[in-house]
Point group: none
Chain length 419, copies 2
Amino acid sequence: MPTAEVLSQGDEVVTGQITDTNAAWISEYLTTLGFTIMHHVGVGDRLPDLVRALQTISERSDLCVCTGGLGPTDDDLTANAVAEAFARPLQLDEEALTQLEAKYARFGREMARVNERQVWLPRGATRLDNDRGTAPGFAFTERDALFVCLPGVPREMEAMFEEGVLPLLRERFQLQPARLVTLRCVGVGESDLQQALGDLQAPGLTVSFRTKLPENHLKLRFDPEISTEALVEIVESTLDRVGRWVFTVEGSPVPLPGFDTGGGHHASAVGRLIAARGHTLSTAESCTGGRIAAACTAIPGASAWFTEGVITYANAAKVRLVGVSEALLREHGAVSEPVARQMASGVRQRAGTTWGIGVTGVAGPGGGSVDKPVGLVHVAIEGPGGCTHRQLRLPGDRDQVQQLSVAAALEMLRRRLLA
Amino acid sequence: MPTAEVLSQGDEVVTGQITDTNAAWISEYLTTLGFTIMHHVGVGDRLPDLVRALQTISERSDLCVCTGGLGPTDDDLTANAVAEAFARPLQLDEEALTQLEAKYARFGREMARVNERQVWLPRGATRLDNDRGTAPGFAFTERDALFVCLPGVPREMEAMFEEGVLPLLRERFQLQPARLVTLRCVGVGESDLQQALGDLQAPGLTVSFRTKLPENHLKLRFDPEISTEALVEIVESTLDRVGRWVFTVEGSPVPLPGFDTGGGHHASAVGRLIAARGHTLSTAESCTGGRIAAACTAIPGASAWFTEGVITYANAAKVRLVGVSEALLREHGAVSEPVARQMASGVRQRAGTTWGIGVTGVAGPGGGSVDKPVGLVHVAIEGPGGCTHRQLRLPGDRDQVQQLSVAAALEMLRRRLLA
């Protein structure tokens, strides 16, 4: 197996201003492709350190993926470091300059001169276009190592890796990709997931977990030699153990009866179910403040099934927008089961949708009381078959309470759709 | 300033099974304490690689904090690597063994023999007790570098760092914490920010940028010796250059006339302005799908000024919830200036708030046309003094168009509030 390492450039990485999620993303991708990852290296914005790191890597690895340091500012040093490390003076890439100017022109903006810096590339390097940002990447071979330099912004980096770098890697290396199946879960913590999974072992299988609040991902990585039959058998036996939390399976080579295999976020899986039934959804949110609607409308094509939402933050809004009764608010308070139920049924009725969601709770840090502490959340789902309700007691800060409430509401809806 | 680096050990780190949050946590801590962080290094479970990494670090840094590889299993190699790298054979720490056996006894469990591995420490090392787990850490000096080896489990590592390592660092190093002032900006790209900043240089000042879409942060890090007067002078001269994009300044030792110094997200700064005036806000969103409301209600205490929002995704919802006229929708289409204006004034009037925001646009990837391409967004703000409108042409994918629309709307509101 070819060896690879990841070089992350930037003071923001080594001073801990940001967590280096790029390194994990790239490493996981490369491992799946069949590389052995040797090292992660993070280097601050100091030219001599970068030069030395690049030279060291060229002597010990077959591939280096470098992120960051490609922007227009003085602390963007990657191209300069490559130039110095490998005697490849920077040269203006005229085509890239034209593209860059066109990008600015398209948005009616003047291009600041300083941007030209980004299109000076080391001699002999192949440019990698960046459709989502201004800084192109580049690739070159030094000794026997392939170097790939990408921007540090994750969305740009990930797209360029998949569009520009993958073909390069396939061309150059004899890759034997591992097969990866990811079970995406909500409503469970990593330790409970691990407990339920028990001692899952099989030849050629590596199991790992990743928490991406509010989701937990269980990753099954299979050696390339494994047969599809054996793989599916392991996936099915895993689903027997943890399937109750799985909302979608990514990477399955076959359909899995009873499970969604479309991948993506929680709201994507919910959206597929709604759309497949020709149903529609509306939302009435209080403590989640629009995050359920935002999760739904983050999905391309959501307009086919999401029609409207209201954020009834003030009590007056609950009364006017979704018809919650003032008497009920007085008697039970805004954070209560009957109010959540009225929000769900009220928004559904007015919007004329198949389903309505109502959420009200105490997200904190203020607003809690002995009876109604921070983290108390009521979720109601109204739809064919009536109204269901759950009372939640959620841990964590405001952001976490909101996130977990969104997941709980979408999961209740998903289960109603499957019932 | 003393130099430091972070060494993360483990296949789970270099294969991307986990994101290395320890490195960011430690680096941020050390930077604040006054260390200059030189490198992050991640090494898999291979003894020769670890030995080489330790030796390299001993030659170039004053401090190395190493995490992971202290457990009882065969892939826990840190102590062995230290032994080999620096000729410090492992020795049984009898006291640690007694503690470990007592720990197991307390939970009524037999200690497996394999656990003894964890209490064999390199010769001359100082043990660091671990109250939350089984593996003790250790510290030693090699050449002029202090090495601190801690477990990889974040909660064990963090507690040991604060309880056991901090006193060691304070004893050994003359620590002088740096002073950090962050100018948080929106509505500007990194290159324009750099261009406007020009050649800002001052003794004891380090400037860095960080993009956190849709925000751009300009970070001014000052040497500890700098006087408050000199620091404020530099901050003020920076604000003269880039102040038009700055919505808040974090870390200023004094108030800065004309600027918010409360820190936090864009919506926090807007919320402070609204709350200070006793104003209120409501929102009518189409293409942003609830993200403006979510940004506002992410701020603790938002209920004092954010009363309600509507997500009028379908045209029928635009008509019913905020009174957009059907004739206008027919004539101009949903994505148009007059519709954005009616959304802003409609939601404001019905909610009875001081301000109303209306946003409609094409977030993509579908739904674009020649006349109304993906990225076309209309934002309107209605409030005291009337209704203002902006037409935006935003780059990027659905997520980015939504994010930039939120920032543009909040920024328009912020400027109206300041006018």
